[in-house]
């Protein structure tokens, strides 16, 4: 044993920590998917996904969210080039697309509830609203985070710490995209197969 004089670079810690956090979020969604898989036939006399879902709506949501992931990637490219205005512009586009997605989702929810098919109707609808709603809640958090980061960007510019946080935000956003792909497949596409 001797003593070392080098100082460890600590830049990697938050990003690694964030990866681990994303893994925990993965497990969280996995549990909700499992719940949905167990309950999705339990319509209890209420409507099934086949009767309820509109593939057009789900596809629009998917395209909007995928595009937002793309613009988020463009924002990060700009950030790494040190172009602050471009970064902000792409994040604003991403934000608008995110809000559009959320509005589409809430409109769908509202429509279901108006028809009397809320989460109270059946085990299937409980699982549907909770799984899709949890994703929507994550999107909301992401949007809020994006606002905070835009405010920070406007105030301070593209420092090392800011880029690191933007990296984590974009990881979060892409992660939600991946989760949505699963929702689109398992909930909507699978739901369109006649029972």
């Amino acid at each position: 044993m001797s003593t070392s004089t080098t100082v460890q670079a600590d830049d990697q810690k938050p990003v690694l920590g964030f990866w681990i956090y994303l893994m925990t979020d993965c497990v969280l969604f996995a549990s909700l998917f499992a719940t949905y898989a167990v309950l999705f036939r339990n319509t209890s006399g209420g409507p099934s996904g086949y009767q309820l879902f509109s593939l057009k709506n789900a596809l629009t949501e998917t395209l909007v969210l995928l595009t937002s992931s793309f613009t988020c990637g463009l924002a990060m490219l700009a950030a790494h080039k040190g172009k602050k205005r471009q970064t902000m512009a792409w994040f604003i586009v991403t934000f608008v697309l995110g809000v559009t997605f959320l509005i589409l989702e809430l409109t769908e929810f509202h429509h279901f509830i108006q028809m009397g098919d809320s989460w109270r109707r059946s085990g299937f609808l409980s699982a549907f609203f909770t799984l899709v709603g949890t994703h929507g809640l994550h999107i909301t958090v992401g949007l809020f985070w994006m606002l905070v980061m835009l405010w920070r960007l406007a105030r301070t510019g593209l420092g090392k710490a800011t880029i690191r946080r933007l990296t984590m935000l974009s990881m979060f956003w892409h992660f939600l995209d991946i989760v949505w792909i699963f929702i689109f497949t398992i909930v909507y596409l699978r739901g369109m197969i006649a029972p």
Partner: protein, 673 residues
């Protein structure tokens, strides 16, 4: 969006379900409420009288030093141990006398609340608290680090844990606690059968503390991966660090399942969903599967770090290197993996069929193998060692005996047909108490005695430690061997009354006496602490290495300076401090020759603020007070944003000042100052 609001139950009025009627009425519950309120007021008065508020605030509550946070975890855990211990005595008292025409002193509903609180508190706020305390104290030192990866998040974790503790105890004062057992199975825990706020208290105290645990898991994993000192490759880490790494990996994978499960149960109770309801397309066995998919790994989360403590204690106190280091590491990871493949053994009686039960029964037997490997490694470490029979070693020996008995009982129950006979019997209760008391509690007790001098600068009194040990061991045997027998006789768990013709009463009385002896053991531990503080000059640790130990934490002065290492160490072998001692002449010290300036995080009260807001959120959710939830949530978000945009969160200590402080710390330890 009016449609949304109409779908929410009970959110009416400014105070939701809260009213003065919710204060306790009968003498026993009122006694509980008065004890809690009286305890808090007394502590507040004592602090005021001693004029210690400022000190408490500056040195402890706002500290980001993992050593301080670790001590706070342990203090809270010990207070909770007393609380849940009183619950245990109440249960044993009730069962000893509530037979035939006598109905004891607890109503059945109150009895149910008592055993639910006992289990919940013991697991979440005693065992978890002791574990996170030990990790905070020991792990950064053992990897040669000054801090954890995210010091601020560490403080948030603690305060979320504390918010959970406050919620659980508040249920004694206003409202009631869950009467649905420590895991609150539906449909009993659904609104229909548990209409009071008890289950909501259970949900939110666990949810808030659980999120704290999840953050800790991320924090400690990152710490171990990224902050080991130079030269410490994975296979050179002390075994305690390995065990923490295994345990925290389990936290990261298991706790999100708990978060989901609790949320779904709350949605059922509050928003009328049908996840676990008996009708409406719910599936109550899904709850049981989900809660145990978290619950079984949880057992290993608690016990792996305790195994780590034993690994350190046995090697140090046998003056030998740990036997079978590599097999020990593999055993840990085998346990981590297998612990996710056995959850169904908690409910073989679900009726999943012979194939499924067969699979889970076999996996359960297989998981006993790595555990057996560990036991034999410890025993071989002792073999031909120069054993120091101090109390940490005694706790270990008690553990080996009890844990083996409990383990054999566990393997017995892994056979599904046998389990059908013993399911929910007192045999099961005896089994898991044997595992958790000997494995987890004895482990952390050994750790407390072993590392106490490192953090206080003086050793614990051995005489009272010895009394405590024997009281616990004998008390434990008396309290739980009767339960094994009662289980075979057909006594089910959670009975508040039974018929005299069963002939169970004598055994219940013996078990009650055993519980009383355990309580004396606990009292002995308090006496041990008090006498040790009284004789702290005499028991002073003047070397920083009172056990002639092996790992890095013993290379720094006792008590550990707040910066841990004046200069971060560099290692080239396992048991680096032991190797260092072998190459040094007697009497030489390991004082560094040159110093460098260091950077440490400043204190912050934001962790405490986040915890407080989380408490308000939880309280609002329990009592259906939406504005309080919103207030809590906005508070948390604001606090985090403020923190994220703070500058100057760190401070520097210059090389000269550090050299002076290090010099002073070493002198103070030797008793010159």
């Amino acid at each position: 969006m009016i449609g949304f609001a109409g779908l929410i139950d009970g959110f009416a009025g400014l105070l939701g379900k809260l009213s003065l009627n919710q204060l306790p009425h009968n003498p026993i519950t009122a006694g509980g409420a008065l004890t809690v309120v009286g305890g808090v007021v007394t502590v507040a008065l004592v602090i005021t009288y001693l004029k210690r508020w400022k000190w408490l605030w500056k040195e402890w509550l706002t500290s980001l030093d993992p050593k301080r946070i670790g001590v706070m975890y342990i203090v809270v855990a010990i207070v909770m141990l007393v609380r849940a211990g009183i619950d245990a005595l109440m249960m044993r008292g009730q069962q000893a006398i509530s037979v035939g025409s006598s109905h004891g002193y607890l109503s059945s509903n109150h009895f149910q609340q008592v055993f639910s609180a006992h289990g919940t508190i013991m697991i979440f706020f005693v065992a978890m608290g002791l574990m996170f305390g030990a990790i905070n104290l020991i792990m950064p030192l053992q990897i040669g680090s000054r801090d954890v990866a995210f010091p601020f998040m560490n403080s948030i974790s603690f305060w979320l844990f504390f918010a959970g503790v406050v919620l659980v105890n508040l249920s004694l004062v206003i409202g009631d606690f869950s009467a649905a057992g420590w895991l609150a199975y539906p449909p009993l825990s659904e609104l229909r059968y548990s209409p009071t706020v008890g289950v909501d208290y259970w949900i939110w105290s666990l949810q808030i503390a659980g999120i704290g645990s999840l953050l800790s898991g991320i924090n400690f994993l990152t710490t171990i991966i990224k902050m080991r000192c130079k030269g410490m490759s994975l296979m050179k880490m002390p075994m305690f660090v390995w065990s923490v790494m295994g345990s925290m990996s389990l936290v990261v994978f298991a706790f999100p399942i708990l978060t989901v499960t609790l949320t779904l149960l709350y949605l059922d109770r509050t928003f009328g969903t049908h996840f676990f309801t008996a009708g409406g397309g719910g599936n109550m066995m899904m709850y049981v599967n989900l809660i145990w998919a978290w619950g079984h790994p949880e057992v290993y989360i608690l016990i792996l770090p305790a195994f780590g403590v034993f690994s350190e204690v046995v090697a140090s106190l046998s003056r030998k290197r740990l036997f079978g280091y590599t097999s020990m590491v593999w055993a840990i990871w085998a346990i981590v993996l297998l612990s996710f493949t056995v959850w169904l053994h908690h409910f073989f009686t679900m009726g999943a069929g012979a194939d499924v039960n067969g699979f889970f029964g076999i996996m359960t037997m297989i998981i006993a193998i790595p555990t057996g490997v560990k036991i034999f490694n410890w025993l071989f470490t002792m073999y031909r060692g120069k054993i120091l029979m101090a109390t940490p070693m005694k706790w270990f020996l008690g553990f080996v005996v009890l844990f083996t008995i409990g383990g054999v009982a566990g393997v017995l129950m892994a056979i599904p047909p046998v389990d059908f006979q013993l399911h929910n019997s007192l045999f099961l209760v005896a089994h898991f108490h044997t595992m958790i008391v000997s494995g987890v509690l004895f482990g952390y007790y050994a750790g407390i005695v072993y590392w106490f001098p490192k953090f206080t600068g003086f050793r614990l009194n051995e005489r009272f430690g010895n009394y405590a040990y024997w009281c616990w061991l004998i008390g434990f045997i008396l309290a739980f061997v009767p339960l094994y027998i009662l289980g075979f006789m057909g006594a089910t768990r959670r009975l508040d009354h039974y018929s005299a013709s069963t002939g169970w009463q004598p055994l219940f009385i013996v078990a009650g006496i055993g519980a009383g002896i355990i309580a004396i053991g606990l009292a002995m531990q308090f006496l041990q602490l008090i006498t040790s503080i009284r004789d702290r000059k005499k028991n002073r640790d003047t070397t920083g290495d009172p056990w002639n130990a092996r790992t890095l934490e013993w290379s720094v002065p006792s008590p550990v300076p707040f910066y841990n290492f004046a200069l971060t160490p560099e290692v080239d072998t396992r048991d680096a401090f032991w190797a260092f001692k072998q190459t040094q002449k007697a009497g030489s010290n390991n004082e560094p020759q040159t110093y460098e300036s260091i950077t440490l995080p400043k204190n912050t009260s934001i962790g405490l603020i986040v915890g407080t807001c989380a408490f308000f959120f939880g309280f609002g959710a329990v009592w259906h007070i939406p504005w309080l939830c919103v207030l809590g949530l906005v508070g948390i978000i604001t606090a985090i944003i403020v923190r994220a945009n703070q500058h100057n969160t760190e401070y520097h200590i210059s090389a000269e000042r550090l050299a002076q402080m290090d010099h002073d710390a070493r002198n103070a330890q030797r008793g010159y100052a």
